[in-house]
Symmetry: C2
Subunit: 198 residues, 2 copies
Amino acid sequence: MATRKDELTQALIAYLLEHGLADVSLRPLAAGVGSSARLLVYHYGSKEGLLAEVLDAMQAHVHQAATKLFEQTSSKGDSPKLLRRFWDWAIADANFPYLKLLYELQILAIQDPDTYAPFLQRDAAKSLSLTLSLMSSPMRSASMATLCIAVFDGLFLDLMTTGDHARTTAAMDQFIKLAMASPPSTPATRKKTRKPKP
Amino acid sequence: MATRKDELTQALIAYLLEHGLADVSLRPLAAGVGSSARLLVYHYGSKEGLLAEVLDAMQAHVHQAATKLFEQTSSKGDSPKLLRRFWDWAIADANFPYLKLLYELQILAIQDPDTYAPFLQRDAAKSLSLTLSLMSSPMRSASMATLCIAVFDGLFLDLMTTGDHARTTAAMDQFIKLAMASPPSTPATRKKTRKPKP
DNA sequence: CTTGCCATGTAACAAACGTTACATGTAACG
DNA sequence: CGTTACATGTAACGTTTGTTACATGGCAAG
């Protein structure tokens, strides 16, 4: 309906994907999307409101894209293979900037929770990779879920820093090999523990 | 020798450990360490110079502390066990804030390399955990080194976000178990590849 | 005593910040 | 046509930013 504001929101997402969150200020941001500071405040109420709405829209986009990935993959492979598929999706050129921005958001929320934590109710990347690692897994312990998420996060951080697709993807494969070679774990120690809330 | 400036530097490190890097500005920072903006610029030349010197001193501190850890541990255990010892050191109350700040620095450097990359020539945490994972290991492939670092980074990120020592440490043990249970890898595929430079 | 260096205080600068007041356009609806 | 709602421009507000000019203390050396 309200195309004006929606166009603006899309442009703002694109701007944030390119420039990051750390030092956004109203006037350069407005110039970057072909608008004015006056207009941004008019549409979003304040800078804080703008970030809230725009980041929300961005997370919704990521969530939707990832959901589509999983339902088209559904019950096919083992858990580690799903992790690998999620990795391939995350490092694709179309999705990488979004994930990157979500990681920046997370770090900022750690150091300045009052400002950024509200925008980070649930981290889409985390909750999805968690869902995945728990889904129909032969070894769904809390430790294994935490470990899978950590491997993903750590390798993604490496990729953001170094840009080395080959090495990081090879490490992901190495992990999957380790995980699948391990004994399926004693079924007695199964837990259904979860992190925050998907 | 120059005790004045050194006291200041120590106080500034303490301030940054508590408040993070994302939104430091001169006057609040000066007030926080019992000085004045005038004095900070006098001693460090500029805000940028201040960050350069203070962050450098901080990295030196971390490097020195970690080095001490490794030489006292020397050639004792296997590589995975060393990783665990490094983990214990990193999450200790005395060291945790330093690592946390280094991770914030790394994220800022990713999104804004021109400003922060110079302060991040070599990330002390990374280069050390790498050194460790390659040291006298039965399976020193590039993939395995990358994976070990990623596990450490990912779990530390989790710990920073959730504060859950028990779960993250359990996941670390899980990884170590996986790594040690795996076949020692075919000696033919050994590589001596390294990341940046320790 | 004076000279000079290091340290510090006061005050201001121009720029950029988020925000707001006021005016004006544009277009739909009665 | 008039009215009403949304959209936009101009300009300023008070604050905070990094930085600088100018002045002044303390203290050691000549």
